[in-house]
């Protein structure tokens, strides 16, 4: 069973509000991913970290999101100004270093932007 912990499970925000969600990766997993699962159930990659460093991120994340993975604290993903189109399930996943290793997913944070 996955031990990736995401909080909160549900988040409701108004348009323009900040929305922040957190993730504690599985112990010993230095690589953390954030995905957005949209209403069509597609996974959209947002950003990934190795330890505290950003490895890759998409343009939208760079412009509208704030994300970090500090040492000894949960990783976080924050939308600076929520839009209706941000309503989705946000999944955090972690793995050990090499890219062929399995991703372990958290239960997700479901964001609703009203």
């Amino acid at each position: 069973n996955s031990k990736v912990i995401q909080t909160p499970r549900y988040l409701v925000k108004g348009q323009g509000q900040k929305a922040k969600m957190r993730c504690i990766p599985e112990k010993g997993h230095p690589v953390v991913f954030w995905y957005q699962q949209n209403k069509n159930n597609e996974f959209k990659f947002l950003i990934n970290f190795q330890n505290q460093e950003v490895l890759q991120q998409i343009d939208m994340t760079e412009k509208r999101f704030s994300a970090e993975c500090p040492s000894n604290s949960p990783c976080s993903l924050e939308i600076q100004s929520s839009e209706a189109g941000d309503s989705a399930l946000y999944l955090c996943a972690s793995r050990t270093g090499a890219s062929q290793n399995t991703l372990y997913f958290g239960a997700g944070t479901r964001l609703s932007v009203l």
């Binding site: 996955s2 069509n40 090499a98 890219s99 062929q100 991703l103």
Partner: protein, 114 residues
Amino acid sequence: GDSVTQTEGLVTLTEGLPVMLNCTYQTIYSNPFLFWYVQHLNESPRLLLKSFTDNKRTEHQGFHATLHKSSSSFHLQKSSAQLSDSALYYCALSPSGGNYKPTFGKGTSLVVHP
């Protein structure tokens, strides 16, 4: 870049019939890892099976898949569908080594009815 193409949308089956979900991929890397993840309703995605070895059948929980590099395919099969197999299925690809982000297909929703 890499891409993964799956059987799109919804697949509906009667219990007891065989399951086949298609997955083909494109990559510049010669030794990719291929994965199938499964996500049941209101649960987080988890690994179903993965493979690296050409032409070797991989099995788990009644499902099996064989990586065929000649046709760039990794189709998921099961001989007899069960009601509990109803879920979302995602095919994914990662190059071996390094620290690359996996590429996911758009997902296939499998519904098994009595």
